[in-house]
Point group: C2
Chain length 93, copies 2
DNA sequence: TCAGATTATCGTGATATATTAATTTATTGA
DNA sequence: TCAATAAATTAATATATCACGATAATCTGA
C-alpha cells in the first residue's frame, strides 16, 4: 500500500466506466452477442437514444469498446481484454 | 442485453466501491498483506484519517471488506471473493 | 472514571456523474 | 441534392461523490 496511489487512476477509470447498471448490461450483452448497434440497444433497454449514446461514449472514452460503422449503423464491440476478464469474474456462468 | 438492467445494480455497486485510486490501493494492499489497520493505511497513504475512514466505510458498505477489532485498532481485510478475482484481473503480476 | 489512542461520523463546499430533450452530424438511397 | 435514418453532441438540471476539518464514539491502561 505505497503512498503513490495515483498509479491506480487508470484502473480506477476503467472500473468507473463499468460501474453502472446500464453500461454493465451493455458490456455483458456485447460479450455474449459479439457486437450490437445503438438502435438495438435502445430497443432492448428501452431508454432514450441520447442516454444510450452517452453511456457508449463513456465506454469508448475508457477504451472499453469500439464502434465500427456499417452503413447508417455503428456496431459496437468490446475492445479491451481486461474488461472481458472482469466480466468473467462478475458473471462466471 | 435484456430490458431489466436493474439486475446489474449489485455488480455495479461493487465496481463503484472499487473504482477509486485510494480504494484500489487499499484493496490491493490488503490483498498482498492480508490485513491492515487504519493508522497504518493513514501513514502509508499520507491522507487525513477521516478520508481513509470514509473510504473504508464505502468498502464496508459494499461488502468488500470487513473490520475486526483488536484492542484500539481495527484490522481490515477483504471479505469478498469476487473482489479478489477482480483484483487478480486488474493486477495479474 | 479519566486520559490518551484509534476509528467513525457529521457538515459542507467543491467536483463529478446521470439523464434526456433538442440539435447536429453522418450516411444512404431515391 | 433531398429526405430519411442512425448516432453523436449540446445544454440544462438533478443527483451523487469527494475531501477533510471538527466532533463524537470506542476501547484500554492507570
Amino acid at each position: 500500500m505505497e503512498k503513490d496511489f495515483r498509479q491506480y487512476s487508470e484502473s480506477a477509470d476503467l472500473l468507473k466506466a463499468m460501474a453502472h447498471p446500464v453500461r454493465l448490461c451493455i458490456l455483458r450483452g456485447l460479450m455474449q452477442k459479439g457486437d450490437c448497434n445503438v438502435s438495438h440497444m435502445q430497443h432492448c433497454l428501452d431508454l432514450p437514444q441520447s442516454t444510450i449514446s452517452m453511456h457508449l461514449q463513456k465506454l469508448r472514452a475508457a477504451g472499453a469498446v469500439e464502434g465500427v460503422r456499417n452503413g447508417l449503423e455503428i456496431n459496437y464491440r468490446i475492445k479491451n481484454d481486461t474488461i472481458k476478464g472482469l466480466l468473467h469474474c462478475l458473471f462466471p456462468e
